[in-house]
Symmetry: C2
Subunit: 406 residues, 2 copies
Amino acid sequence: MEGSASLTPAGEELHARFSVNYSYAVHFTRDVLDPENPILARTVIADHGSVVLPVLDGGMLTCHPTLPERLEAYAQRHPDCLRLAGPPIVLPGGELVKEGTRHVEAILAAVNERAVDRHSYVLAIGGGAFLDVAGYATAVAHRGIRLIRMPTTVLAQNDAGIGVKNGLNAYGKKNFLGTFAPPSAVIDDELFLTTLCDRDWRAGTSEAIKVALLKDAAFFAELEELAPAVGERDLDAMGTLIRRCTELHLSHIAGAGDPFEMGSARPLDFGHWSAHKLEQLSGLRLRHGEAVAIGIALDATYAHLAGMLPAAEWRRVLALLEAFDLSLLAPELDDPRLLDGLAEFREHLGGRLTVVLVQAIGASVEVHEIDRALMRRAIRELRAAAVGAEALHEGSPPAMVEATQG
Amino acid sequence: MEGSASLTPAGEELHARFSVNYSYAVHFTRDVLDPENPILARTVIADHGSVVLPVLDGGMLTCHPTLPERLEAYAQRHPDCLRLAGPPIVLPGGELVKEGTRHVEAILAAVNERAVDRHSYVLAIGGGAFLDVAGYATAVAHRGIRLIRMPTTVLAQNDAGIGVKNGLNAYGKKNFLGTFAPPSAVIDDELFLTTLCDRDWRAGTSEAIKVALLKDAAFFAELEELAPAVGERDLDAMGTLIRRCTELHLSHIAGAGDPFEMGSARPLDFGHWSAHKLEQLSGLRLRHGEAVAIGIALDATYAHLAGMLPAAEWRRVLALLEAFDLSLLAPELDDPRLLDGLAEFREHLGGRLTVVLVQAIGASVEVHEIDRALMRRAIRELRAAAVGAEALHEGSPPAMVEATQG
């Protein structure tokens, strides 16, 4: 991080102009806590740090109950590189961890009691919602402690775990509180994916489909090839999906010109105005990735009806979502409050309504108006188009309880 | 704000590298709320904003009770440029506003209820501690709303109002919570300074003396010239002091290479390890500017005893503080807990202890060790050197209650 200077007195004004440089790596590995795996130790020491406060997702822990002991053993194997600041802080996983500030305060209290400073690290291991909370606490303590994220779900490895945002829900609004705070490093360990339930395994793929649809027709075609293997829980196929999604995601953050989203555009939030609202209307029955899949299907259908997206490409979008066993429908699509999601989306971004749509696979376009009557027609059209595939899902209602990892 | 791209897959890693550009102006004016004064209206509209949530320091309001009506009249005169998001939120002024999150929550609730978005502004008018709180709330709402600061005290115009930090106190630690968040603009209105009590008028000059001592021998000499006029509350003399202090401050932020303080150095925090501790030990009887004056005197004395700062220059430092009627002593200098301030200072910065000292007027140097026995000797030496001037202050104990602004 460096600054560059410019200060020009202009009459009765003085100006400050400077840049802040950010850099971080996303590492891909298997069994990061194997004492012989050097990645975590190298990541800490490369930055002249050493003290590490572990913060863990309780949902993840149920599948990896020996993780605290393995982390301890890892630290003992690398005493010159990292020293744990006491036992882990454990928070619940899932979207509810983002409600209120109670869990943030648990992390802050540990930062205070254990004298974790700005050159120390928080090591956060868990799912996307959990990482949002750990990231927020880390960003506001001492004006920013270093953060190493280990995202443990497909969704987190494809999205929340690799970006520059954190967030808490407040006043009934998703991510009402948050900051932009790039991590020091991200480490993806594929072993965590092996213990995901099928529902979480597939839900996380929707963010990769979204990125391919917006930015990369070749990746979209590759996903069409990968779908059967991913459906059989092939770890290599999923690894390919996650790496390419990460690459496109980082390329967007680093290359699209507005990493901290000061403009009105939010080019990666395709399908998200409805996804956020569907999650909320479902009382969190729908997971974020599941809601995003429906949001993608809906906005692709709208783009098709609006004459932007040709029919053949629209059908490929729906087919790819279905090939990844993602449901295209939810009862909440018929809730009249769904379209309030557009106003809430605008308010969260600020400025003018800006929704990203697609005019071809791999080619996005921004629009500033959504025709509500046409959107309602898109809902009906989506239902008609999806009804065949949807019959497969009727037997397993999405509300059913499954063992799940954060 | 722009980004630049670099993404290089290196084996099993991907890297994101980008820059975020910041720019803001500090405007100097008189009577900013005169309906014919264009600065506030121009500042808002230049950024394509319009909605402005006013947040006011209650201490300031007691001296400027018509400010809410004047702000309303200003908005009515510039309807195409700014629209107030309802009546002002009023918080207490002074350091106590930084304790706990109650006051931050008052701002956040208004942001929510009044649909203030990321392209809207919070207009915060008040003293330094108040601005720290308003800045924190503004930085975490919707991941950052735009902020216009109007610092209303000498101290705030010289320091907290013009920089890139905000903060709240927690766990008994100053600024335990906070972020780095540059403002959209800063507007200094000299009219606010006319209603300050003498104590606040003079206390705020210590930060300017500090900056001159560290960075600019010519400014230090200019301050020696200005002192008598400032003592007679000459607004032009104070304006000269504030402009040059601001210029050096912004130049440091923009030009010293680490605006968000990722390194261990904190080159502007001369005298602050003891100042923070003195404030705390005095139960906030000492104001920040008063504590900084004592901190400057103490560390200058230490630098002299350590053989760094020649005797003649050391005496000029003490003499300048005294010329601005700043006390060099406080009973808390003898509290054995004072030296704990060094460890707390290190913990807040993180990494290695780094204290800035001076080897000449206008020439600073960093050290990584402080000899505690020598520091205790510096306290005795300072007491001996200051005792003559200090007699002047004995008659007016600093604990006395004065009408004060924010």
